[in-house]
Symmetry: C2
DNA sequence: CAGTGTGAAGTTGTTCACAGCA
DNA sequence: TGCTGTGAACAACTTCACACTG
């Protein structure tokens, strides 16, 4: 049997919401909370209570009626779900504005990602460290990926060179790509790609604004 | 009649995809293309062809069988849809790593957003310019919002102060908030909020990686 | 035919309704 | 009574099927 078994099947929106839960739960924990209920989470986060229950059920925790979930246990379960402990390492290519900001960003470790090095083609940018993370010339990428067994590549290059950068990265052994450019990247099917476009979110914002003013106009 | 009419009702995923279309269409245009078909777009972007057709239909353009869409016309329609021309102005609060990167980001104008000024509480950061955009102390916010009629606020503060920052901004006249913190912000219902969490995307990436290794293990 | 455009079917995600429990 | 947990109804989005056109 060659058929690939589908193992988990967690709804994508659920995964998206997990970091939000984690953030809130940690905040609660910081305030000394011991238990938390789904309705409580829902009202704080403006989610639907049933949805919270369903989402949390994917982590495997089980709560108690009238009481809710044990906070520490729940935090652990969510962290486990997100794989915070696995502590994956990544390389980042394209040390421009966005790339630099990501290198400086302290929060990735909260979700178990550590950026080990940055790379660029511009010799002006290489040879330094940013927040303790070294920036190398792209020439070093291949060698370092192999030696350090890095499998995740973050792409923050200009869009024009995004595809060729990813092609190279994959050739050099990268298995998962986090793409911050607006380019729709082509990869072999076994490569994991996560696109993160600030533009999509901006488009949503602008559209909401447009819609609201249209409604206001219509109701005059 | 006080009932609020629902005017448009465009699917959110469609709005999200629009900037991707726009980017690809402009690229095509740069190469001298004159027409483009939905299947062509779909194969380049790895989308479903019917979905492309449906998405584009929301812009109001109409294509021709056997030929496709007029490229220039289509780009115009998509830009119009996204409101690129309306050219909205925004203030940004929290000139840290991410805030600085956003101030430096050249691409927002592609979608009609212009960041006019940055604000921070830290006097170390104020009084300078970043990429030509002045950074003021938060004390100046209220006055400038009123004088310049700014309605969009971008929040890149530390999470701990995100809620209070937004409360202030709204008190001072901001109508739409683009929130880059992981905090679920509470606002009056007439305020527009767009959350953009890098963590959600990272969670998605990590989850895909986890799932893939689970599948591989299961198929051994 | 190779494309547009659309109504209908299928799939995925959300919300409701309620059984079970302490 | 206030919560968990779940099966069923509902809503949103995607994909399919096909009629239509130059």
């Amino acid at each position: 049997m060659t058929k690939t078994k589908k193992i988990i099947g967690i709804p994508e929106p659920t995964v998206r919401r997990m970091p939000t839960y984690l953030h809130y739960l940690k905040e609660l924990n910081g305030k000394g909370g011991k238990t938390v209920s789904a309705p409580q989470i829902a009202s704080a986060l403006r989610f639907d209570a049933t949805q919270v229950t369903k989402d949390l059920s994917y982590t495997g925790v089980t709560g108690r009626p009238r009481i809710g979930y044990n906070l520490a246990e729940l935090i652990n379960a969510v962290e486990d779900f997100l794989g915070v402990n696995r502590n994956k390492e990544a390389f980042l290519v394209g040390v421009g504005n966005l790339g630099t900001a990501l290198l400086r960003y302290p929060g990735f470790s909260d979700l178990g990602l550590k950026i080990i090095a940055g790379f660029d083609t511009d010799y002006e940018k290489t040879g330094k460290e940013i927040e303790g993370i070294p920036v190398f010339h792209i020439d070093k990428f291949r060698d370092l990926v192999e030696r350090l067994h890095i499998t995740i590549g973050i792409v923050t290059t200009p869009p024009e060179v995004a595809q060729q950068t990813v092609d190279l990265m994959i050739g050099w052994g990268i298995k998962a790509v986090w793409n911050f450019t607006p380019v729709a990247i082509r990869t072999p099917k076994h490569i994991i790609v996560q696109n993160t476009s600030i533009y999509s979110n901006l488009a949503l914002l602008m559209n909401k604004i447009k819609q609201q003013s249209a409604e206001k106009r219509a109701n005059d």
